[in-house]
């Protein structure tokens, strides 16, 4: 029983990581339809932000807290720059966007290598996050995973509220659902696109901050997670936050439960098979968005 509970906790926390890395993508890929291969590098930028900030702010706890908004801004601005310089010109050509952003991703990786060196780097975690909460001797919930879970849920909440209740959110939805009609209604679609891209990329930066608590920071850390992020968004249903949330937690739990009784590789295969089977059943993903632009 203890084992199942602790595995469920691990699963939920893997889900939270998946959710964080996929959340930004569900905006840029899900809502806008841009296949941005450099999304992983925005995650990397967020992670390196923590590394750089720790050189300035020596207290590990404060540097982590400060890093959250700073990483959001850094990754977000990189996103806006990418949107403004390249993607804006390629909205009607998804395949070209894929190739171009992949190229950008390679350039950003090499840039990180040149700036920070080829070897991976580490950050110090605050002491309050390296500990755990003991429920029984066998069942402990580690603080860093609880922190990531909270962060993921807060990010979802903030994004949902923004999309649903702010005028920016209304405009974003309007542009997604019918760009031409939004434009003739007086919505500056170009500016809305840029803002959406800013928020989506910024969330990738926040995910990067979270990942520093679990593993090393390196030029290729983005590529390692980008596939998972796309999986979550595709299986969740393009354009649906709700779908991404459910799929992220479902995949995390599936992964951890299968892995417990088998091995890492088998669990990975299991997850992929489950997704393929699922997409056979529901090719549009968990939820289908009825829009005119993506149909």
């Amino acid at each position: 029983m203890t084992v199942i509970v602790s595995q469920l906790f691990t699963g939920v926390s893997i889900g939270a990581v998946l959710l964080l890395i996929a959340l930004g993508l569900s905006l840029t890929f899900g809502q806008m339809g841009v296949i941005n291969m450099a999304h992983g590098e925005f995650i990397m930028a967020g992670a390196y932000t923590v590394f750089v900030l720790q050189k300035v702010i020596t207290d590990a706890g404060w540097s982590l807290l400060v890093a959250l908004p700073v990483a959001f801004a850094v990754a977000g601005l990189m996103g806006v720059l990418l949107e403004y310089l390249l993607i804006r010109r390629l909205y009607a050509r998804p395949l070209d966007t894929l190739l171009v952003t992949w190229g950008v991703s390679l350039i950003l990786q090499q840039l990180a290598r040149d700036i920070f060196g080829a070897p991976n780097v580490q950050t110090r975690a605050p002491d309050s996050l390296t500990g755990n909460i003991k429920i029984t001797d066998d069942l402990v919930l580690s603080n860093n995973r609880l922190f990531i879970l909270t962060l993921a849920l807060l990010a979802v909440l903030a994004l949902t509220l923004t999309l649903r209740y702010t005028s920016l959110g209304r405009r974003m939805r309007a542009v997604v659902q019918n760009r031409d009609l939004a434009a003739v209604s007086g919505i500056p679609t170009g500016r809305v696109d840029r803002l959406t891209f800013f928020i989506g990329s910024g969330l990738a930066g926040v995910a990067g901050v979270a990942l520093t608590l679990l593993g090393p920071i390196g030029p290729t850390m983005g590529t390692n997670v980008i596939i998972d992020a796309f999986l979550v968004v595709v299986a969740g249903g393009i354009g649906h936050l709700k779908g991404s949330v459910i799929v992220a937690f479902a995949l995390g739990t599936l992964q951890s439960l299968v892995e417990y009784s088998t091995t890492v590789s088998v669990a990975k295969v299991g997850v992929f098979v489950a997704i393929v089977a699922f997409l056979q059943w529901r090719p549009q993903g968990l939820f289908t968005l009825r829009t005119r632009s993506l149909a």
Partner: protein
Amino acid sequence: MLDFRGRWKAALLPLAAVVALSACGSKTGENESSTGAVADTSGDTVKVGLLNSLSGTMAISEVTVRDSIRLAVDEINAAGGVLGKKIEPISEDGASDWPTFAEKAEKLIREDKVAAVFGCWTSASRKAVKPVFEENKALLFYPVQYEGLEQSPYIFYTGATTNQQIVPGLDYLKAQGKTSVYLVGSDYVFPRTANKIIKAYAQANGMTVLGEDYAPLGSTEFGTIVNKVKASKASAVFNTLNGDSNVAFFKEYKSAGLTAASMPVVSVSIAEEEVKSIGTQYLDGQLTAWNYYQTTPGAANEKFVKAYKAKYGQDKPTSDPMEAAYVSVYLWKAMVEKAQSFDVAAVRSASDGVTFEAPEGLVTIDGATQHIYKTARIGKVGSDGLITEVWNSGQPVKPDPYLKGYPWATGLS
């Protein structure tokens, strides 16, 4: 949307051209290498090759090995060289890519006509260059601990084989009464072979292996593996993870509430350099199995550490593979001087019994296996990031790459 096909083709065309070109390139290379190469030692200097990854994922470790080889070369040159000739090192970048290693080895042997090559780190790179050295009858000095079960006439192995590192590590655990172990490793040849040996040892020595898990190289998600380790209630963990996975593993290990006191981890791929990058807060008190630590006592080590820090910086630690690489250059020099020749066949036949007062203590070449006698040492990571010895084998252990001297190991090779 209709022109997708055409675009794909356009994008694939240059790719296809590159593939075709590189295929031609490798073919001509094969044709040239039908005869053995002869080292050119006619000049005032003798060339040696340094073959290490100076870029890519392995660079963090291999650059330090290159640096210690350079240190040895400089010291030897300052003392007059080998057989009156100064050593001229030629450094090549293997770029953490195994075919590149083979290509650069070929270049060092055939174009530069070096007398010997020092380098390689991963077993994959060693396996990639092995046929090149055998075909050209050239010499490679390999300085890293490895999984054993190999013995090439053209390779000298100056790192530990399994009976000088893994077996003593297990002996130590057994002596401490830690008789149930959990095996965690990266998913490639070294950890899998090592764990095969550990399981055979356990069966013969009354130890139980409670579980075995492999994570893909570079994996950073260890939640489930650590849960499994914890639930197994093993008395110790034997860790053959390589590279950055160790960072994620030890972070998870600590936050799950496991400590060196409750369940110690014995690692075989974590040396001083890695301790620094993983973070001492996660490794305090954990165990390692090697043949050398920066803290190993003795005048030879004091000199080595001092010279290394003077050349490369006071904050740079020295580690086992670095020491083995440093030693390999001196051993080559001693062999050449004994043979009075740079000729590969002469050097090889002079190898048996050649000794060197190394930083790790006296090392002797075993001519039959071309490995060296090394003292096994178990160390404990201190809060200062250095590793201090808690046990050693007392005397250098005879290398036994195929574990022929261990009845339980029959059938492994």
